[in-house]
Symmetry: C2
Subunit: 212 residues, 2 copies
Amino acid sequence: MENNEPYVPEPAISRLPWYLACVSRLRAQGVEYVSTTAISQELNVESSQIAKDLSYLSIKGKTRIGYEVKELERGLYDFLGFRREHKAVMMGVGSLGSALIADSGLSRYGLDIVAGFDVNPDVVGRSLNGKPIYPLSELSRRVGELGAEIAVIAVPVESCAEVAEMCVAAGIKALWNFTPFRIRTAPDVVVQNTSIYAHLAVMYNRMPRHKD
Amino acid sequence: MENNEPYVPEPAISRLPWYLACVSRLRAQGVEYVSTTAISQELNVESSQIAKDLSYLSIKGKTRIGYEVKELERGLYDFLGFRREHKAVMMGVGSLGSALIADSGLSRYGLDIVAGFDVNPDVVGRSLNGKPIYPLSELSRRVGELGAEIAVIAVPVESCAEVAEMCVAAGIKALWNFTPFRIRTAPDVVVQNTSIYAHLAVMYNRMPRHKD
């Protein structure tokens, strides 16, 4: 990392959006101060864990009063990077890719998908939700021009490895992978996997099953 | 669980879709047999771990030959529940909800979203991708009629707790949560969280940051 901020463990970062959701709700209800104990009751996370996680932020709670709700909400938003704009390209605009381009909610969390890439002549040259869809062959040329640092990958699983390599060669710094393929790449490239098929599999397995 | 199948730990279930993606690729390449060693090299998972994970399936590999690729692919598909149809309702058809309804890829993994529910008069009464959108007030009446067991939740975070409760009261057995709210519910209701905002937060945090 280029800055001097402390290294925050991944589980801690993953819990912060829960706290953000919780304090946003409290703010909407007009609550002014909140303690880690109160957040703990809402979320079923140990109060000491919450205090530790929040210690990575530069916000201090007051003894017996707690955190100022608005300040904590703003601090979490900033810390999580949701307020900065991160330009991304969508790799693969099949059903999931189009769906993600259409999800305007992502832009509220700082992800700005500026273009899509595909090999399918039926979609290349068109635009989706105002975002141009370019042929995959133009990736390396376009990434710099678009100023994109993130690639969201929703290509067929067979193409994932090749597409991930192309992205990194084009200068992409982070890969958000929606395929079940495990991407292996250079250590300075960030990879996050959103394993929706694994989540489906766990859900199906844990449900009471009817005899077929 | 109503059947006598062994309890499979969640991390093992979560790894199985990787193996499925890997063997599907091999099958497409015309490969007939695969060893856990070969899968291990592709995926960077220990070969002994793969053998253990696959032991939950009723498929046996042969010494020095390995698993028959087609049989393993079919076995994984069945075991993961991707071949059975699981009826689901979409709670909230805002940008993410509409996107998920539009993602036909989910149906290839056994998830059949049969209807959506919302409170917004602009969308209620319409249909999206051929799926009717009903008012939230009709949930309890419609769930049984639709035969839905799963609710996919993409409502505003403030409404998540209330909507989850309504789903469970209506007879839903599993909640697939896309909001950052942590759902707490009865122990016999399955909850899976797909924390896309947590994934975004980790990705942003790990990227080299420019000075603002």
